[in-house]
Amino acid sequence: MLAKLIEFRSVTERDALYVFDCPELARAASPGQIVELKINDCLDPFLRRPLSIFDVEGDTFSLLVRTVGRGTEYMTRWKPGVEVDVLGPLGKGFSWSEKEETFALVGGGVGMASLNFLARRLLEQGKQVHLLFSPKRDSQLLNALPQPERMDISFAENRTALPAALNALLAKGIDRVFCCGPDGLMEIVAKTSMANNIPCQLSMERHMACGIGICLGCAIAIRTEQGLTYKKACKDGPVFEAEEVSFHEEH
């Protein structure tokens, strides 16, 4: 389907917010899901770009995108009005139970991109949202948040300071942790949450091709009762339970 870019706004020197009008996608999306955008009509870049849904409001959805390579550089040249070929919403997002009331969202850098939509849904349900962001030097990214005043926001200076910051937050009585960021950061968050016996979900990232489960390119090592297996970030994830993700063991 086609999504029309209606707003483009720089958030930091290398991050930008893209707002698209696309009622069909916006209405179907849930927090933690992704979209696959076609960058142009040419063969280079060849693949679509998988991006987390940053927010949904009415008939629009938005993406917070860091310019990291050819595809995302090309995107910065898009002007409002352009129509983009999009697949989505794709994948399995975050989940929680009605009984849970207080949530910690841990964002690592532009990993924030998948947490804002989650925060919106949680707040709509009257839940309490604590956002822990790392590293603090990237906090300018939070300028993209549409309703920061409704969350309790704290910072970790860097990854070394993260366990202590998260422990302090968990001590406030957190029902569930959600995290998205680099693998190293997510591993710390997974370990700290598990040590505190608090359920934790991680939004995993891999180089992805199809986004719909046919190429098996975006493999995530997952622990099962039968041993380690590879699951698909695009279809089985991108959100996985922290205890099932294996960060180091591989076949």
Binding site: F46, L47, C210, C215, L216, G217
Partner: protein
């Protein structure tokens, strides 16, 4: 009456555009993104004699007009494939659209997989594909694709064991691929599936390491189409059996180009990673072309560039 039906040996398909093995999953994953009835057939993800976990990540790296991929034949093995996967495939596709692809390390393993498929699903599928393009643990990479006698013996044994149409997918990266193709032709298969995937490498300049876990991997996508074209051109001059060409097919024009070089059908691979409904567009395009050119069938165009 326009007729886009395609005969490959004893097998007949509704059109000459197939979903390539390993790039089309088990087809049912695509159901909500395209009209599966427009596929000539789908060659399912190869089932190996024992389950395979696949290669460690990263498995995909983008290159200009294509990707380097190294999946490692991840599949659940025959028991799960027959019990859980095949019923879902049969729900999604018609009998004439299903090609089961098998791979083993030895002739005995290939034969057992073919026999099990035939006994359980022989009435419900169109053909078997012997995937000899895959890694071979026992005898080294591409053993059945680089040794003419091994290829001959494998085909002869499989053909005597099953009555289903058999396609042979081989790896054209070996210098003697034309010699091997002759042996395959002599052994007698219903079609030869060319696997036009030269190896490539990409370095991630941020990590300063190879971009995929397996270091090297086959290049797929339009980037390699001219290489595939030349292989099909050479094969057409060498063998009599029908050729199914794969390697960078993205549009109906690409499919037609392969047919003019000698392919009776084409396999569409990585284009589906970008456009899940690409096969439908290719078939639509070929039908429009037939209309415009007042062609009753595409058969007369197969290999036409040689004449």
């Amino acid at each position: 009456m326009k007729n886009i039906k395609t005969k490959l040996g004893q097998a007949e398909f509704r059109n000459p555009v197939l979903g390539a093995s390993g790039c089309t999953g088990y087809a049912y994953e695509l159901e909500s993104y395209t009209d599966l009835s427009r596929y000539g057939a789908v060659t399912l993800k190869t089932v190996t004699y024992t389950p395979r976990h696949g290669n460690h990540p990263e498995r995909i790296a983008e290159v200009p007009a294509g990707i380097i991929s190294s999946i490692g034949l991840q599949n659940p093995g025959p028991d799960v494939f027959f019990d859980d996967t095949m019923p879902k495939v049969i729900d999604a596709l018609d009998r004439d659209q299903i090609i089961v692809s098998v791979a083993g390390d030895t002739i005995e393993e290939y034969v057992e997989l073919c026999c099990r498929t035939s006994q359980r699903y022989g009435e419900k599928i169109a053909a078997l594909e012997i995937n000899a393009a895959c890694p071979n643990v026992r005898f080294g990479v591409g053993y059945f694709s680089r040794d003419p006698q091994a290829a001959f013996d494998l085909i002869e044994t499989v053909k005597s064991a099953v009555s289903l149409p058999v396609f042979f997918k081989f790896n054209t990266n070996f210098e003697n691929y034309l010699e091997v193709a002759s042996a395959i032709d002599e052994a007698g298969v219903d079609a030869l599936y060319t696997s036009n995937t030269p190896l490539g490498l990409k370095i991630n300049i941020r990590t300063r390491r190879p971009a995929i876990g397996n270091v090297v991997g086959p290049i797929c996508g339009p980037a390699i189409r001219p290489i595939g074209m030349l292989r099909v051109w050479n094969l057409y001059q060498k063998v009599k059996m029908p050729i199914i060409a794969s390697g960078g097919v993205y549009t109906w024009e690409d499919a037609l180009e392969y047919m003019l070089a000698g392919a009776a059908a084409v396999g569409v691979g990585s284009a589906q990673f970008v456009q899940p409904d690409v096969v439908k567009h290719i078939v639509d395009g070929l039908e429009r072309y037939m209309e415009r050119e007042s062609l009753d069938s595409l058969t007369s165009l197969v290999g036409a560039a040689h004449r």
